[in-house]
Symmetry: C2
Subunit: 380 residues, 2 copies
DNA sequence: ATCCCCGCTGGAATCGATTCCATGGAATCG
DNA sequence: CGATTCCATGGAATCGATTCCAGCGGGGAT
């Protein structure tokens, strides 16, 4: 983690942790009947009354934004601790237009890639005492819009989204409403929004170069949906890489899925049914790679021997598969963390620059297959 | 930074809200460029003004809780639509003590099991237009407390938690603050809180019976940490099952990890180093199972042939491993969805009953090993 | 000594929505 | 036809915190 200038967040009012043990240990002594326990409804007025100051002063002490006398400071702090005061974030948000909540919209946390992003984003938010609202769009534009609507009514301070579609729905609304926004992993054309993405062109080039090095000339491509920017970017990068390396540019070698597992299988089946099947497969996403893997196996072919397979996105367990999968990977956690850092920056009035993270090749056994091996073995 | 003394006008909003009112009489047709775009800062007062009623009436119409005349209803609705009014959830929450936000605290969304829970919970919440605040405790009690504190200041309507520890920290605070609470997957002793858990005893029995059927008598157990209820429950269930099936109750066959991958490897190493190593392993969690798998492989043993392995929690890709892993599974998604349903019930004043979901055995190749195979092959 | 400024404070307005209360008019009843 | 009830409504209080404003006392400058 880099060191970021810690934003001047008035840090949610102090640790109740110690007062619990100390002060509440013997509460009954003072006034047995008047509930000594932590009450969610302790308000600033109560604190002020106990400290013998006005609510204004109490607020100033606790937020630390304004000058206060040492005496007042001491007494207000003491009163707050004794009563177990916890600022009401809702009221605070209403008055000060800062809710300390940000929305995170991904297509599905069950996809390990997005789970990593979510984890990275969430941990970064916590460090600045922001909470993260989790939303799954389920690769569905309608649900994406529904959630954006919900975020809007919740008046979140900002939104991180792995967007989908052409940006016709609520994405426009967001822009017009001037809600701080950051794209992660994907982008949408025509939006002037800072983004954190992976260097897709570089990733594809790494994969293709790797396969070309092994002597492959016919690479089957299992791409993503054109409605998603990474789908488009990787496809065009693939076409370029193929040309650059002077490989076979047979259009029949290009297929597209929807970033879900099943579509990877379908695509693989289509590719392998060709009368001159590819000797290597490149999948634009981890889930489709798994689908392809299953399909290939069912056809009695052995990945890594009869056929090479390279996938995008490294998933923790890809190394445990049989055979371990070669991948072009990026650090999903960093993706999420960086996006959140950018967002917090924008929220604080800064102007964030888009970030492109590098990808790297992790060669494993699945790409060990050499083309002649496959050539010697007819399709199925 | 606030050095410039400026008027108390929130600079960002005003221009749009003003000219809008005027322009709307003849909206898109007259001035295509100044579309009636949705502005986040439209307030109920604006709607009321446009509809020619008081804010009270406007509120009554939109909330639908009180009687209103058809005429007023019509005009308020129209005004709201035209202005793109969106209720301010913060203000609503402050006044009505209902924030439509719930907290979800799991140990780590990167664990597919918890990702499933999160997905199930979140989708259920959305159906009732609640937002879900995501929190990762990272198997760390301190961070768990930090997050509960954050939830408390955010005044969430309720919390779902896969708890950890003995319940000494903020868990008690929650109880005292009467925040609606539901335990998921795990519980904590001494808390009268509705929970949704899996039938651990049944699951362990299924696994042990399955292995016993194959003739195994020495089963190595890789358990979870005693600080987590599932860790304790599964261990005691294991001991009972061993006794019931009259299997070897050698204490050296019992180990404990921390529900993380590395600890599974360590535990497996320890078990296999025994002079009479087990012929089967039972791991109390999926991540530890993967760790064990790796360790076993490195020792040159083949799962499913030299050694049987059964794991808890089915992960989507367990079937793709080599060999596919036999598991005792429960529906994590249902776990999360059910927990959320319970929570919403409690929030609405209901009294939720705890739910125990059944587990089922999914036999795959990893448990095909028969004891004599391993017996014929000395430890490593 | 007088004036000014500064630090600190209490009081009050404010954020946006909900909800209680009183009121005016229509509808109902004896 | 007068009295009671009911309905819809406007106005105002309220939720809990922030922040502006005015005022008070004291120290420094003139």
């Amino acid at each position: 983690m880099e060191s970021i200038p810690k934003p001047a967040v008035p840090a949610v009012i102090s640790p109740t942790s110690h007062h619990q043990g100390g002060d509440f240990a013997a509460p009954a002594r003072a006034r047995p009947s008047e509930r000594p326990h932590v009450d969610a409804t302790v308000t600033l007025k109560d604190v002020a009354a106990r400290a013998g100051v006005s609510v204004g002063t109490a607020s100033r002490v606790l937020s630390g934004h304004s000058a206060t006398s040492p005496a007042a400071r001491e007494r207000v702090r003491a009163a707050a601790t004794e009563l177990g005061y916890r600022v009401n974030a809702r009221a605070q948000a209403l008055r000060s237009a800062r809710s300390h909540a940000v929305g995170l919209l991904v297509s599905d946390v069950r996809n390990p890639f997005f789970a990593d992003i979510a984890h990275g984003a969430e941990q970064t938010a916590l460090a600045s005492s922001y909470v993260t609202l989790l939303a799954n769009a389920n690769e569905d534009t309608a649900q994406q819009d529904t959630y954006l609507e919900v975020f809007l009514t919740q008046r979140v301070d900002g939104i991180i989204i792995a967007p989908q579609g052409e940006g016709r729905g609520n994405l426009r609304t967001l822009e017009q409403a001037r809600v701080p926004l950051v794209f992660v992993d994907r982008t949408v054309d025509g939006f002037d929004v800072p983004s954190v993405t992976a260097d897709n062109a570089q990733g594809v080039e790494l994969a293709v170069a790797h396969l070309a090095e092994q002597g492959h000339t016919r690479i089957g491509y299992i791409g993503g949906p054109p409605s998603v920017s990474t789908g488009r970017a990787r496809l065009s990068a693939f076409l370029e890489a193929i040309a650059r390396h002077r490989l076979d540019d047979d259009p029949a070698l290009i297929t597209a899925g929807d970033f879900r597992r099943a579509s990877g299988g379908t695509a693989a089946a289509k590719l392998l049914a060709h009368h001159r099947p590819p000797t290597a497969l490149l999948a634009a996403d981890s889930l489709m790679a798994v689908g392809a893997l299953t399909e290939v196996r069912q056809r009695g072919l052995r990945i890594g021997e009869d056929l090479a397979l390279v996938a995008f996105d490294d998933i923790e367990w890809f190394g445990e598969l049989d055979p371990p999968l070669t991948v072009v990977a990026h650090d999903a956690r960093a993706l999420g963390a960086t996006a959140m850092r950018l967002l917090l920056d924008v929220i604080d009035g800064g102007t964030a620059e888009s970030v492109v993270l590098p990808m790297r090749l992790i060669p494993r056994r699945s790409s060990a297959a050499r083309p002649h091996t496959a050539a010697s073995r007819p399709s199925a």
